[in-house]
Protein backbone atom coordinates (compact mmCIF):
# COMPACT_ATOMS: atom_id res chain seq x y z
CA UNK A 1 0.00 0.00 0.00
CA UNK A 2 2.65 2.48 1.03
CA UNK A 3 6.19 1.91 -0.01
CA UNK A 4 9.06 4.12 0.95
CA UNK A 5 12.37 3.64 -0.80
CA UNK A 6 15.71 5.19 0.01
CA UNK A 7 14.07 8.22 1.57
CA UNK A 8 16.57 10.83 2.72
CA UNK A 9 16.10 14.29 4.20
CA UNK A 10 18.98 16.59 4.94
CA UNK A 11 18.65 19.95 6.67
CA UNK A 12 21.11 22.78 6.63
CA UNK A 13 21.21 24.21 10.10
CA UNK A 14 23.67 27.07 10.52
CA UNK A 15 25.74 25.79 7.60
CA UNK A 16 25.92 22.32 9.10
CA UNK A 17 24.29 19.49 7.24
CA UNK A 18 22.07 17.30 9.38
CA UNK A 19 20.59 14.08 8.07
CA UNK A 20 17.19 13.71 9.72
CA UNK A 21 16.06 10.72 7.67
CA UNK A 22 18.82 8.54 6.29
CA UNK A 23 18.22 6.27 3.26
CA UNK A 24 15.12 4.78 4.84
CA UNK A 25 13.02 2.05 3.23
CA UNK A 26 9.76 0.73 4.55
CA UNK A 27 6.62 -1.04 3.35
CA UNK A 28 3.28 -0.56 5.05
CA UNK A 29 0.40 -2.88 4.27
CA UNK A 30 -3.11 -1.78 3.42
CA UNK A 31 -5.38 -1.59 6.44
CA UNK A 32 -2.74 -2.01 9.11
CA UNK A 33 -1.83 0.23 12.00
CA UNK A 34 1.87 0.82 11.69
CA UNK A 35 3.78 2.45 14.52
CA UNK A 36 7.07 4.28 14.37
CA UNK A 37 8.72 4.80 17.73
CA UNK A 38 11.85 6.70 18.62
CA UNK A 39 13.22 9.29 20.98
CA UNK A 40 12.97 12.95 20.04
CA UNK A 41 15.48 13.77 17.35
CA UNK A 42 15.34 10.27 15.90
CA UNK A 43 13.77 11.68 12.72
CA UNK A 44 10.33 10.12 13.08
CA UNK A 45 8.51 13.45 12.86
CA UNK A 46 10.41 14.31 9.69
CA UNK A 47 9.59 10.87 8.29
CA UNK A 48 5.83 11.27 8.70
CA UNK A 49 5.95 14.76 7.16
CA UNK A 50 7.89 13.42 4.19
CA UNK A 51 5.05 11.00 3.47
CA UNK A 52 2.66 13.84 2.52
CA UNK A 53 5.51 16.13 1.53
CA UNK A 54 5.02 18.75 4.20
CA UNK A 55 8.79 18.36 4.02
CA UNK A 56 10.37 17.92 0.61
CA UNK A 57 12.64 14.88 0.51
CA UNK A 58 16.28 15.31 -0.49
CA UNK A 59 16.12 11.98 -2.32
CA UNK A 60 14.15 8.76 -2.41
CA UNK A 61 10.54 7.97 -3.15
CA UNK A 62 7.18 7.57 -1.43
CA UNK A 63 4.48 5.60 -3.20
CA UNK A 64 0.94 5.48 -1.83
CA UNK A 65 -1.34 3.08 -3.69
CA UNK A 66 -0.48 3.67 -7.33
CA UNK A 67 0.63 7.29 -6.89
CA UNK A 68 4.24 8.23 -6.56
CA UNK A 69 3.84 11.12 -4.12
CA UNK A 70 7.42 12.29 -4.55
CA UNK A 71 6.87 12.79 -8.31
CA UNK A 72 3.67 14.81 -8.19
CA UNK A 73 3.49 18.41 -9.29
CA UNK A 74 2.02 21.05 -6.97
CA UNK A 75 -1.59 20.78 -8.10
CA UNK A 76 -1.50 16.99 -8.21
CA UNK A 77 0.05 16.91 -4.75
CA UNK A 78 -2.79 19.07 -3.39
CA UNK A 79 -5.33 16.60 -4.79
CA UNK A 80 -3.39 13.63 -3.45
CA UNK A 81 -3.23 15.24 -0.01
CA UNK A 82 -7.02 15.26 0.16
CA UNK A 83 -6.74 11.47 0.36
CA UNK A 84 -4.18 11.52 3.14
CA UNK A 85 -5.58 12.62 6.50
CA UNK A 86 -3.27 13.93 9.18
CA UNK A 87 -3.67 14.60 12.88
CA UNK A 88 -1.27 16.49 15.08
CA UNK A 89 0.10 16.56 18.61
CA UNK A 90 -1.29 20.05 19.24
CA UNK A 91 -4.48 19.41 17.23
CA UNK A 92 -3.96 22.51 15.02
CA UNK A 93 -7.61 23.50 14.92
CA UNK A 94 -8.73 26.93 13.75
CA UNK A 95 -9.78 28.73 16.92
CA UNK A 96 -11.97 31.10 14.91
CA UNK A 97 -14.18 28.24 13.71
CA UNK A 98 -16.65 26.07 15.59
CA UNK A 99 -16.36 22.29 15.76
CA UNK A 100 -18.63 21.88 12.71
CA UNK A 101 -16.83 24.59 10.77
CA UNK A 102 -13.45 23.05 11.54
CA UNK A 103 -14.60 19.66 10.28
CA UNK A 104 -16.12 21.34 7.25
CA UNK A 105 -12.83 23.04 6.30
CA UNK A 106 -11.22 20.17 4.32
CA UNK A 107 -14.56 19.71 2.52
CA UNK A 108 -14.50 23.38 1.52
CA UNK A 109 -10.98 22.88 0.22
CA UNK A 110 -12.14 19.87 -1.81
CA UNK A 111 -14.98 21.96 -3.26
CA UNK A 112 -17.85 19.91 -1.80
CA UNK A 113 -21.24 21.72 -2.13
CA UNK A 114 -22.71 23.22 1.03
CA UNK A 115 -25.64 20.85 1.70
CA UNK A 116 -23.43 17.81 1.15
CA UNK A 117 -20.84 19.32 3.49
CA UNK A 118 -23.39 19.73 6.26
CA UNK A 119 -24.53 16.14 5.92
CA UNK A 120 -20.97 14.81 5.99
CA UNK A 121 -20.07 16.95 9.01
CA UNK A 122 -23.01 15.50 10.92
CA UNK A 123 -21.89 11.94 10.11
CA UNK A 124 -18.36 12.68 11.24
CA UNK A 125 -19.51 14.29 14.47
CA UNK A 126 -21.44 11.10 15.25
CA UNK A 127 -18.46 8.94 14.27
CA UNK A 128 -16.05 10.61 16.68
CA UNK A 129 -18.61 10.99 19.45
CA UNK A 130 -18.96 14.77 19.59
CA UNK A 131 -22.72 15.06 19.22
CA UNK A 132 -24.02 18.13 21.05
CA UNK A 133 -20.72 20.02 20.76
CA UNK A 134 -21.16 21.08 17.11
CA UNK A 135 -21.27 24.79 17.84
CA UNK A 136 -18.58 24.92 20.50
CA UNK A 137 -15.30 26.67 19.78
CA UNK A 138 -12.03 24.75 20.25
CA UNK A 139 -11.19 26.84 23.33
CA UNK A 140 -14.27 25.40 25.03
CA UNK A 141 -13.18 21.80 24.47
CA UNK A 142 -10.91 19.46 26.44
CA UNK A 143 -7.75 18.06 24.87
CA UNK A 144 -9.41 14.76 24.04
CA UNK A 145 -12.37 16.47 22.41
CA UNK A 146 -10.02 18.67 20.38
CA UNK A 147 -8.24 15.59 19.08
CA UNK A 148 -11.62 14.09 18.17
CA UNK A 149 -12.31 17.17 16.07
CA UNK A 150 -8.86 16.71 14.55
CA UNK A 151 -9.68 13.11 13.68
CA UNK A 152 -13.09 13.99 12.22
CA UNK A 153 -11.45 16.72 10.15
CA UNK A 154 -8.76 14.31 8.91
CA UNK A 155 -11.42 11.79 7.88
CA UNK A 156 -13.70 14.29 6.14
CA UNK A 157 -12.60 13.54 2.58
CA UNK A 158 -12.60 9.75 3.06
CA UNK A 159 -8.85 9.31 2.99
CA UNK A 160 -7.17 5.95 2.51
CA UNK A 161 -4.33 6.80 4.85
CA UNK A 162 -4.21 8.55 8.20
CA UNK A 163 -0.95 10.02 9.47
CA UNK A 164 -0.77 10.57 13.23
CA UNK A 165 2.00 12.89 14.37
CA UNK A 166 2.36 12.26 18.13
CA UNK A 167 -1.42 12.40 18.26
CA UNK A 168 -1.71 11.42 21.93
CA UNK A 169 1.47 12.93 23.36
CA UNK A 170 -0.31 16.01 24.70
CA UNK A 171 -3.09 14.00 26.36
CA UNK A 172 -3.41 12.40 29.77
CA UNK A 173 -3.29 8.56 29.98
CA UNK A 174 -7.05 8.06 30.18
CA UNK A 175 -7.79 10.39 27.26
CA UNK A 176 -4.94 8.76 25.32
CA UNK A 177 -6.67 5.41 25.71
CA UNK A 178 -10.02 6.73 24.49
CA UNK A 179 -8.38 8.33 21.44
CA UNK A 180 -6.50 5.09 20.72
CA UNK A 181 -9.77 3.15 20.96
CA UNK A 182 -11.29 5.56 18.47
CA UNK A 183 -8.35 5.05 16.09
CA UNK A 184 -8.74 1.26 16.27
CA UNK A 185 -12.47 1.65 15.72
CA UNK A 186 -12.07 3.74 12.55
CA UNK A 187 -9.25 1.47 11.37
CA UNK A 188 -11.59 -1.52 11.57
CA UNK A 189 -14.73 0.25 10.38
CA UNK A 190 -13.27 2.16 7.46
CA UNK A 191 -10.35 -0.10 6.59
CA UNK A 192 -8.05 2.87 6.92
CA UNK A 193 -4.28 2.46 6.91
CA UNK A 194 -2.87 4.29 9.91
CA UNK A 195 0.73 5.36 10.39
CA UNK A 196 1.48 6.78 13.78
CA UNK A 197 4.62 8.06 15.33
CA UNK A 198 5.10 8.23 19.06
CA UNK A 199 7.64 8.05 21.83
CA UNK A 200 5.32 6.04 24.06
CA UNK A 201 5.65 2.25 23.85
CA UNK A 202 2.26 2.01 25.51
CA UNK A 203 0.63 3.42 22.35
CA UNK A 204 2.42 0.91 20.10
CA UNK A 205 1.53 -1.96 22.40
CA UNK A 206 -2.10 -1.02 22.54
CA UNK A 207 -3.04 -0.54 18.91
CA UNK A 208 -0.27 -1.29 16.42
CA UNK A 209 0.09 -4.39 14.27
CA UNK A 210 3.66 -3.68 13.31
CA UNK A 211 6.28 -1.33 14.63
CA UNK A 212 9.51 0.21 13.45
CA UNK A 213 12.06 1.58 15.88
CA UNK A 214 13.96 4.62 14.70
CA UNK A 215 17.29 6.05 15.75
CA UNK A 216 19.45 8.63 13.99
CA UNK A 217 17.24 8.70 10.91
CA UNK A 218 17.34 4.95 10.36
CA UNK A 219 15.08 2.07 11.26
CA UNK A 220 17.06 -0.10 13.65
CA UNK A 221 14.43 -2.76 14.17
CA UNK A 222 11.00 -3.60 12.81
CA UNK A 223 8.45 -6.37 12.90
CA UNK A 224 5.24 -7.57 14.47
CA UNK A 225 4.66 -5.74 17.74
CA UNK A 226 4.59 -8.94 19.78
CA UNK A 227 7.89 -10.18 18.35
CA UNK A 228 9.59 -6.88 18.97
CA UNK A 229 8.29 -6.89 22.52
CA UNK A 230 9.40 -10.42 23.27
CA UNK A 231 12.77 -10.39 21.65
CA UNK A 232 13.98 -6.82 21.37
CA UNK A 233 17.34 -6.92 19.64
CA UNK A 234 18.53 -3.34 19.54
CA UNK A 235 19.40 -1.45 22.71
CA UNK A 236 16.93 1.35 21.90
CA UNK A 237 14.13 -1.18 21.47
CA UNK A 238 15.04 -2.78 24.79
CA UNK A 239 14.74 0.59 26.50
CA UNK A 240 11.30 1.16 25.00
CA UNK A 241 10.14 -2.30 26.03
CA UNK A 242 11.33 -1.60 29.54
CA UNK A 243 9.08 1.51 29.50
CA UNK A 244 6.04 -0.73 29.76
CA UNK A 245 7.54 -3.93 31.19
CA UNK A 246 9.75 -2.45 33.86
CA UNK A 247 13.31 -3.62 34.31
CA UNK A 248 13.09 -7.12 35.78
CA UNK A 249 16.73 -8.01 35.91
CA UNK A 250 17.51 -5.43 38.53
CA UNK A 251 16.16 -6.84 41.78
CA UNK A 252 16.38 -10.51 40.92
CA UNK A 253 19.45 -11.38 43.00
CA UNK A 254 17.57 -10.37 46.08
CA UNK A 255 14.67 -12.63 45.18
CA UNK A 256 17.01 -15.57 44.64
CA UNK A 257 18.62 -15.05 48.06
CA UNK A 258 15.29 -14.79 49.81
CA UNK A 259 13.73 -17.83 48.21
CA UNK A 260 16.32 -20.53 48.43
CA UNK A 261 13.84 -23.37 48.76
CA UNK A 262 12.43 -25.22 45.76
CA UNK A 263 13.10 -23.88 42.29
CA UNK A 264 12.94 -20.37 40.95
CA UNK A 265 11.44 -20.35 37.49
CA UNK A 266 10.61 -17.67 35.01
CA UNK A 267 7.66 -18.25 32.71
CA UNK A 268 7.49 -16.42 29.39
CA UNK A 269 3.98 -15.98 28.07
CA UNK A 270 3.81 -15.46 24.33
CA UNK A 271 0.68 -14.28 22.62
CA UNK A 272 -2.68 -15.87 23.33
CA UNK A 273 -1.38 -18.50 25.77
CA UNK A 274 -1.49 -16.09 28.66
CA UNK A 275 -5.17 -16.84 28.94
CA UNK A 276 -4.54 -20.41 30.03
CA UNK A 277 -4.95 -20.93 33.72
CA UNK A 278 -1.44 -22.30 34.04
CA UNK A 279 -0.79 -21.72 37.71
CA UNK A 280 -3.97 -23.39 38.93
CA UNK A 281 -3.52 -26.24 36.42
CA UNK A 282 -0.06 -27.19 37.62
CA UNK A 283 -0.85 -26.83 41.29
CA UNK A 284 -3.84 -29.14 40.90
CA UNK A 285 -2.11 -31.64 38.67
CA UNK A 286 1.16 -31.91 40.56
CA UNK A 287 1.97 -32.16 44.22
CA UNK A 288 3.66 -28.79 44.39
CA UNK A 289 3.04 -25.30 45.61
CA UNK A 290 3.51 -22.22 43.48
CA UNK A 291 4.55 -18.92 44.92
CA UNK A 292 4.28 -15.92 42.55
CA UNK A 293 7.18 -13.55 43.18
CA UNK A 294 7.16 -11.08 40.37
CA UNK A 295 5.57 -10.57 37.04
CA UNK A 296 3.88 -8.50 34.46
CA UNK A 297 1.45 -9.46 31.73
CA UNK A 298 0.57 -7.03 28.96
CA UNK A 299 -2.28 -7.13 26.50
CA UNK A 300 -1.49 -6.26 22.89
CA UNK A 301 -3.64 -6.40 19.79
CA UNK A 302 -2.33 -9.91 19.07
CA UNK A 303 -2.75 -11.36 22.56
CA UNK A 304 -1.13 -11.19 25.94
CA UNK A 305 2.53 -11.57 26.62
CA UNK A 306 4.80 -11.11 29.56
CA UNK A 307 6.74 -12.93 32.21
CA UNK A 308 6.03 -14.36 35.63
CA UNK A 309 8.74 -15.26 38.10
CA UNK A 310 7.55 -18.04 40.40
CA UNK A 311 8.98 -20.23 43.10
CA UNK A 312 7.95 -23.89 42.89
CA UNK A 313 8.08 -25.77 46.19
CA UNK A 314 7.92 -29.54 46.67
CA UNK A 315 9.83 -32.76 45.90
CA UNK A 316 12.59 -32.21 43.35
CA UNK A 317 11.23 -34.95 41.02
CA UNK A 318 7.75 -33.49 41.19
CA UNK A 319 9.12 -30.03 40.36
CA UNK A 320 11.04 -31.41 37.37
CA UNK A 321 7.93 -33.17 36.12
CA UNK A 322 6.00 -29.93 36.41
CA UNK A 323 8.61 -28.08 34.38
CA UNK A 324 8.63 -30.79 31.71
CA UNK A 325 4.83 -30.55 31.58
CA UNK A 326 4.92 -26.79 31.02
CA UNK A 327 7.60 -27.15 28.35
CA UNK A 328 5.84 -29.90 26.45
CA UNK A 329 2.14 -29.29 26.94
CA UNK A 330 1.95 -25.49 26.68
CA UNK A 331 3.53 -22.84 24.50
CA UNK A 332 4.91 -21.08 27.53
CA UNK A 333 8.67 -20.88 27.67
CA UNK A 334 10.35 -21.86 30.94
CA UNK A 335 13.61 -20.58 32.24
CA UNK A 336 15.03 -22.06 35.44
CA UNK A 337 16.78 -19.35 37.39
CA UNK A 338 18.03 -21.09 40.52
CA UNK A 339 17.90 -24.38 42.34
CA UNK A 340 17.43 -24.78 46.00
Amino acid sequence: MISIKGLTKKFLIQHKEITAVDDLSLTIKKGEIFGVIGYSGAGKSTLIRLINRLEEPTSGSVIIGDKEITNLRKGELRNARQNIGMIFQHFNLLWSRTVSENISFPLEIAGVPKDEREKRVQELIQLVGLAGRENAYPSQLSGGQKQRVGIARALANDPKVLLCDEATSALDPETTNSILDLLVDINERLGLTIILITHEMHVIQKICNRVAVMENGKIVEQGEVIDVFLKPKHSVTKKFVEQVMGNEEGDLTEIIDDHSAGKLVRLHFIGETANQALISTISKQFNIEVNILQGKINQTKLGAYGTLTVQILGEIEEIDRTITFIKEETSIEVEVLAHA
Binding site: A80, F88, N92, N157, L163
Partner: protein, 222 residues
Amino acid sequence: MLKELFPNVVLEDLLVATGETFYMTLLALVGTVIFGIILGLLLYLTSNGNLWKNKGFNYIIAAVVNIFRAIPFIILILLLIPFTTFLLGTFRGSNAALPALIIGSAPFYARLVEIGLREVDKGVIEAAQSMGAKTKTIIFKVLLPESMPALVSGATVTAIALIGYTAVAGVIGAGGLGDFAYYYGFVRRDFDVVFVCTVLIIIIVFIFQFIGDMITKKLDKR
Protein backbone atom coordinates in the same frame (compact mmCIF):
# COMPACT_ATOMS: atom_id res chain seq x y z
CA MET B 1 -25.47 79.23 29.27
CA LEU B 2 -23.39 77.61 26.54
CA LYS B 3 -23.31 80.91 24.67
CA GLU B 4 -21.86 82.62 27.77
CA LEU B 5 -19.22 79.97 28.39
CA PHE B 6 -18.15 79.63 24.77
CA PRO B 7 -18.99 82.98 23.15
CA ASN B 8 -17.00 82.36 19.96
CA VAL B 9 -18.23 78.85 19.16
CA VAL B 10 -20.57 78.69 16.17
CA LEU B 11 -22.50 75.45 16.35
CA GLU B 12 -23.03 75.00 12.58
CA ASP B 13 -19.33 75.47 11.81
CA LEU B 14 -18.43 73.07 14.57
CA LEU B 15 -20.78 70.41 13.19
CA VAL B 16 -19.32 70.82 9.72
CA ALA B 17 -15.79 70.44 11.12
CA THR B 18 -16.77 67.35 13.13
CA GLY B 19 -18.34 65.85 10.00
CA GLU B 20 -15.16 66.52 8.04
CA THR B 21 -13.06 64.82 10.70
CA PHE B 22 -15.29 61.74 10.61
CA TYR B 23 -15.36 61.79 6.81
CA MET B 24 -11.59 61.94 6.42
CA THR B 25 -10.87 59.46 9.22
CA LEU B 26 -13.32 56.83 8.03
CA LEU B 27 -12.48 57.06 4.33
CA ALA B 28 -8.75 57.10 5.01
CA LEU B 29 -9.22 54.17 7.39
CA VAL B 30 -10.89 52.09 4.66
CA GLY B 31 -8.03 52.83 2.25
CA THR B 32 -5.44 52.21 4.94
CA VAL B 33 -6.94 48.87 5.92
CA ILE B 34 -7.07 47.68 2.29
CA PHE B 35 -3.52 48.73 1.40
CA GLY B 36 -2.19 47.86 4.85
CA ILE B 37 -3.51 44.29 4.69
CA ILE B 38 -2.09 43.80 1.19
CA LEU B 39 1.31 45.17 2.25
CA GLY B 40 1.22 43.28 5.55
CA LEU B 41 0.40 40.03 3.79
CA LEU B 42 3.25 40.57 1.35
CA LEU B 43 5.64 41.35 4.20
CA TYR B 44 4.55 38.22 6.03
CA LEU B 45 4.35 35.80 3.11
CA THR B 46 7.73 36.72 1.65
CA SER B 47 9.53 36.57 5.00
CA ASN B 48 11.72 33.66 5.99
CA GLY B 49 9.99 30.33 6.45
CA ASN B 50 6.68 31.35 4.91
CA LEU B 51 4.72 30.47 1.79
CA TRP B 52 6.26 32.91 -0.69
CA LYS B 53 9.67 33.16 0.93
CA ASN B 54 11.65 35.67 -1.16
CA LYS B 55 14.47 37.58 0.47
CA GLY B 56 14.87 40.24 -2.22
CA PHE B 57 11.18 41.03 -2.57
CA ASN B 58 10.75 41.11 1.19
CA TYR B 59 13.66 43.54 1.47
CA ILE B 60 12.16 45.91 -1.12
CA ILE B 61 8.70 46.02 0.50
CA ALA B 62 10.22 46.45 3.94
CA ALA B 63 12.33 49.35 2.61
CA VAL B 64 9.32 51.09 1.02
CA VAL B 65 7.29 50.64 4.21
CA ASN B 66 10.09 51.99 6.37
CA ILE B 67 10.70 55.02 4.15
CA PHE B 68 7.06 56.11 4.24
CA ARG B 69 6.91 55.53 7.98
CA ALA B 70 10.03 57.63 8.46
CA ILE B 71 8.78 60.75 6.64
CA PRO B 72 7.05 63.13 9.06
CA PHE B 73 3.40 63.49 8.05
CA ILE B 74 3.55 67.27 7.63
CA ILE B 75 6.38 66.81 5.08
CA LEU B 76 4.66 63.89 3.36
CA ILE B 77 1.49 65.87 2.80
CA LEU B 78 3.46 68.67 1.15
CA LEU B 79 5.58 66.27 -0.92
CA LEU B 80 2.42 64.66 -2.22
CA ILE B 81 0.82 67.88 -3.48
CA PRO B 82 1.83 67.24 -7.15
CA PHE B 83 0.54 63.65 -6.91
CA THR B 84 -2.76 64.74 -5.35
CA THR B 85 -3.20 67.47 -7.97
CA PHE B 86 -2.60 64.89 -10.69
CA LEU B 87 -5.08 62.50 -9.09
CA LEU B 88 -7.90 64.86 -8.11
CA GLY B 89 -7.20 68.05 -10.05
CA THR B 90 -6.79 69.99 -6.82
CA PHE B 91 -4.68 69.78 -3.69
CA ARG B 92 -7.11 71.50 -1.36
CA GLY B 93 -10.05 70.17 0.67
CA SER B 94 -10.99 67.03 2.56
CA ASN B 95 -10.70 64.68 -0.43
CA ALA B 96 -7.26 66.02 -1.26
CA ALA B 97 -6.09 64.97 2.19
CA LEU B 98 -7.02 61.33 1.61
CA PRO B 99 -4.03 60.18 -0.52
CA ALA B 100 -1.61 61.60 2.03
CA LEU B 101 -3.55 60.14 4.95
CA ILE B 102 -3.62 56.69 3.35
CA ILE B 103 0.00 56.72 2.20
CA GLY B 104 1.05 57.99 5.61
CA SER B 105 -0.76 55.38 7.68
CA ALA B 106 -0.93 52.26 5.45
CA PRO B 107 2.76 51.37 6.05
CA PHE B 108 2.20 51.74 9.80
CA TYR B 109 -0.85 49.50 9.67
CA ALA B 110 1.01 47.04 7.40
CA ARG B 111 3.52 46.45 10.20
CA LEU B 112 0.70 45.82 12.67
CA VAL B 113 -0.86 43.38 10.18
CA GLU B 114 2.47 41.60 9.81
CA ILE B 115 2.77 41.24 13.59
CA GLY B 116 -0.79 39.89 13.76
CA LEU B 117 -0.14 37.36 10.99
CA ARG B 118 3.02 36.16 12.67
CA GLU B 119 0.93 35.25 15.70
CA VAL B 120 -1.09 32.76 13.64
CA ASP B 121 -0.15 29.24 14.71
CA LYS B 122 2.20 27.72 12.12
CA GLY B 123 0.67 24.35 12.90
CA VAL B 124 -2.72 25.50 11.67
CA ILE B 125 -1.21 26.62 8.35
CA GLU B 126 0.52 23.27 8.11
CA ALA B 127 -2.76 21.48 8.82
CA ALA B 128 -4.40 23.41 5.98
CA GLN B 129 -1.52 22.43 3.68
CA SER B 130 -1.89 18.81 4.70
CA MET B 131 -5.52 19.01 3.56
CA GLY B 132 -4.40 20.23 0.15
CA ALA B 133 -5.32 23.92 0.54
CA LYS B 134 -4.16 26.44 -2.05
CA THR B 135 -2.26 29.53 -0.93
CA LYS B 136 -5.35 31.62 -1.70
CA THR B 137 -7.43 29.43 0.60
CA ILE B 138 -4.80 29.65 3.32
CA ILE B 139 -4.81 33.47 3.08
CA PHE B 140 -8.57 33.94 3.11
CA LYS B 141 -9.67 31.02 5.28
CA VAL B 142 -6.78 30.66 7.71
CA LEU B 143 -4.45 33.66 7.92
CA LEU B 144 -7.00 36.49 7.85
CA PRO B 145 -9.75 34.92 10.04
CA GLU B 146 -7.23 33.62 12.58
CA SER B 147 -5.56 37.03 12.91
CA MET B 148 -8.80 39.04 12.80
CA PRO B 149 -8.74 40.31 16.41
CA ALA B 150 -5.20 41.61 15.87
CA LEU B 151 -6.22 43.18 12.55
CA VAL B 152 -9.15 44.99 14.20
CA SER B 153 -7.24 46.22 17.22
CA GLY B 154 -4.47 47.35 14.85
CA ALA B 155 -7.07 49.23 12.79
CA THR B 156 -8.31 50.90 15.99
CA VAL B 157 -4.82 52.15 16.85
CA THR B 158 -4.38 53.31 13.27
CA ALA B 159 -7.76 55.10 13.24
CA ILE B 160 -6.78 57.09 16.30
CA ALA B 161 -3.46 58.03 14.72
CA LEU B 162 -5.45 59.10 11.64
CA ILE B 163 -7.59 61.47 13.71
CA GLY B 164 -4.35 63.20 14.68
CA TYR B 165 -3.16 63.25 11.07
CA THR B 166 -6.41 64.90 9.87
CA ALA B 167 -5.59 67.88 12.10
CA VAL B 168 -2.22 68.23 10.37
CA ALA B 169 -3.98 68.04 7.02
CA GLY B 170 -5.31 71.51 7.86
CA VAL B 171 -2.21 72.94 6.14
CA ILE B 172 -3.75 72.04 2.77
CA GLY B 173 -7.16 73.31 3.86
CA ALA B 174 -8.58 69.88 4.51
CA GLY B 175 -10.96 71.11 7.19
CA GLY B 176 -11.91 69.10 10.25
CA LEU B 177 -11.71 69.80 13.96
CA GLY B 178 -7.95 70.20 14.18
CA ASP B 179 -7.92 72.71 11.36
CA PHE B 180 -10.88 74.51 12.88
CA ALA B 181 -9.25 74.68 16.32
CA TYR B 182 -6.09 76.15 14.84
CA TYR B 183 -7.48 78.77 12.48
CA TYR B 184 -10.68 79.78 14.26
CA GLY B 185 -9.37 79.24 17.75
CA PHE B 186 -5.65 79.54 18.20
CA VAL B 187 -4.94 82.12 15.47
CA ARG B 188 -7.81 84.38 16.59
CA ARG B 189 -6.98 83.88 20.26
CA ASP B 190 -10.48 82.41 20.79
CA PHE B 191 -9.40 79.73 23.22
CA ASP B 192 -12.94 78.57 23.95
CA VAL B 193 -13.01 77.23 20.37
CA VAL B 194 -9.73 75.40 20.94
CA PHE B 195 -11.16 73.89 24.11
CA VAL B 196 -14.43 72.70 22.55
CA CYS B 197 -12.61 71.22 19.54
CA THR B 198 -10.18 69.37 21.79
CA VAL B 199 -13.00 67.92 23.85
CA LEU B 200 -14.77 66.78 20.66
CA ILE B 201 -11.60 65.13 19.35
CA ILE B 202 -11.16 63.32 22.66
CA ILE B 203 -14.76 62.09 22.46
CA ILE B 204 -14.19 60.85 18.89
CA VAL B 205 -11.04 59.01 19.98
CA PHE B 206 -12.98 57.36 22.81
CA ILE B 207 -15.74 56.33 20.42
CA PHE B 208 -13.27 54.69 18.02
CA GLN B 209 -11.45 52.92 20.84
CA PHE B 210 -14.70 51.69 22.35
CA ILE B 211 -16.04 50.31 19.05
CA GLY B 212 -12.67 48.74 18.22
CA ASP B 213 -12.39 47.04 21.61
CA MET B 214 -15.94 45.77 21.36
CA ILE B 215 -15.42 44.19 17.94
CA THR B 216 -12.07 42.69 18.95
CA LYS B 217 -13.61 41.13 22.03
CA LYS B 218 -16.51 39.72 20.07
CA LEU B 219 -14.24 38.20 17.41
CA ASP B 220 -11.77 36.62 19.80
CA LYS B 221 -12.83 33.04 20.52
CA ARG B 222 -9.48 31.94 21.93
